[in-house]
Symmetry: none
Subunit: 195 residues, 4 copies
Amino acid sequence: MSVKQNIVEQSIRLFETKGFSETSIQDVVEALGVTKGTFYYYFQSKEQLLKEIHLMYIDELLKRQEQIIRRADINNKSKLMEIVRLLVNQIRENGRSARVFFREMRNLNPESAATVKQKRRTFRLNLQAIIEAGMREGEFRQDLRADLITFAILGMCNWSYNWFNPEGPATDEQLVETYMETLLHGMERLNKLTK
Amino acid sequence: MSVKQNIVEQSIRLFETKGFSETSIQDVVEALGVTKGTFYYYFQSKEQLLKEIHLMYIDELLKRQEQIIRRADINNKSKLMEIVRLLVNQIRENGRSARVFFREMRNLNPESAATVKQKRRTFRLNLQAIIEAGMREGEFRQDLRADLITFAILGMCNWSYNWFNPEGPATDEQLVETYMETLLHGMERLNKLTK
Amino acid sequence: MSVKQNIVEQSIRLFETKGFSETSIQDVVEALGVTKGTFYYYFQSKEQLLKEIHLMYIDELLKRQEQIIRRADINNKSKLMEIVRLLVNQIRENGRSARVFFREMRNLNPESAATVKQKRRTFRLNLQAIIEAGMREGEFRQDLRADLITFAILGMCNWSYNWFNPEGPATDEQLVETYMETLLHGMERLNKLTK
Amino acid sequence: MSVKQNIVEQSIRLFETKGFSETSIQDVVEALGVTKGTFYYYFQSKEQLLKEIHLMYIDELLKRQEQIIRRADINNKSKLMEIVRLLVNQIRENGRSARVFFREMRNLNPESAATVKQKRRTFRLNLQAIIEAGMREGEFRQDLRADLITFAILGMCNWSYNWFNPEGPATDEQLVETYMETLLHGMERLNKLTK
DNA sequence: CATGAATGAGAATTCATTCAT
DNA sequence: GATGAATGAATTCTCATTCAT
């Protein structure tokens, strides 16, 4: 692995554990056994490193989302499920990056933040478009606001970075299934009505 | 308003805008027109101030949750709705505090963090208990894991601190209704099945 | 005991343990359960308190030395012994004060320091005068410099504030006897000469 | 001379003049024309600097004492004399360091203090061993407690850091001779007895 | 590519002291 | 006599960044 890749890995680890502001360049280079000069050879600033971490994360998400959207073989409901799975998986597999991504956006400079925000917005609107398509095509109820539901789904999934532990009592696939089942059919006991 | 109250207000404002680590005591006292000595007359440390903000927030939430739980006149479904409303309202009314609360827990020292975490855990388990009661009493489906649904609900509601703007295109009551409707009945078009 | 006396007592205790500079007025008043205002009612400054402690100590020493010097019933050798006893006793009985006295002179302001230094000088010259009298009157050898011997005696005695512990393996009277015996007759084995 | 050496030199000078607590890092770096950052590049803390000063001093003393102890060509009386000379010389040559060494031990942190105390103890016990050997081998009287005499000698010599001035009316060699003569034969006029 | 020395601005915190009440 | 609020200057220490080598 390249020196630069190493720096990125270590800093994700440290930023997740201690926080971006609380992690010094010294911490990062000490964890790698190099000196500060080396860091500044590869990165112009601490902020640029954070920016790269953010872009790597959101670009990966967008790329995978794009692949889901383009699929012609599945309907919108399945696409929604794939996106829920994508979000949850991403947290399972790249939990550290996910936590840095969600927590440290404030520390980007205005331009970087704008870029990242725009991409996050794209991701959200892509999801919303799937829901709206599903509504038009009769898969989803039309009496709920697509924008608010989109936020609800993102909240549900993204929040799991706060607590989800792959070694814990629930697997990520159980999580996806429970979330999807709740989202699609709700938690109310229906046969109660038919009794 | 007392000087101490003023310090708390101003720091919530600044912590929300710039972040805890990025806000200096100097920033806080300058916003108030007092000196650093004054700050340290009222607070032992910057961390203690953050701790107080956290405790104020979570204690208020727990108190209101308690009131909802104790109500004998409503069923579990309504209690769930009240808690969703509580979370969303809290963000509408105390958005700043909410954002500080969710973002800055890392900056508490281990003991304070443990205290706050314990209280957050209590809030979550109280909510889970309502859901479990609803399952037992036939209000909710029994084939979904109560713990995961609890996280889903909390994620949904809490995430809104990231985007919800009371002046935006949706009111908080609309938000509550959409969330509850989705949670209870799901977003899938049901008459499709009956066709 | 008066409030002022209490302040003096507590601060001697704290100055000895933590050092003058490292002890804050806050520490002193907290140990007493009063407030800083009270301190400044009785003392103009922290330095003035230190000055009073110094003066109490050296004035007591000078007073007792005076009594020894004035005695007509004993010779210079006995007077020397009484002064050694005085110094050692003072450390046993007022160990804390002694330690503050020897260590914290640097923290007096120039005027206070001058006053105290003058009194310490007086004490030393009084002792030197006894030795010189003893030399003239045939009690002591005349081939040793009185000034240097005076310093030797003071060093011997004063140094004990660094280590002497009344509960330790030597009593203060043993200390006085050993010191006097060494000072008067030396530690060399004399019968070796007569062999 | 290296920057680090320079920092040590200047701080000894300042610590001696103003005291450790009363000397700020600012004072030190200003005296050198560098910045605070430079100080902290070389030392982790102010306390670590003090620790290094202490260790340099006591290690030098121990090294020289060791050389004296190992000598086979001189008896214990001469070894004692060499150690008295060592102490007095050290104060003459490194008066500043000596004063810092004797006055500022309180400002070491507990671990550093323990290390230094242990070394000081070793120095003292080495001296005591010489005296005990001298007693066993008939050079010194056996009716005096070796431990107390050791303290007496150390007090005599060390105290001179308080007053001894190489430019004053006594040379260091005179001081050594007077101290040794007093220690060995005492100050009492012996022929008085034989008259 | 990489280092090590240096910087300087700013951080949290302490504390003797004042003073109106 | 005593208090409590406030001050402001100073203190230790951190850290992103630079740069000659």
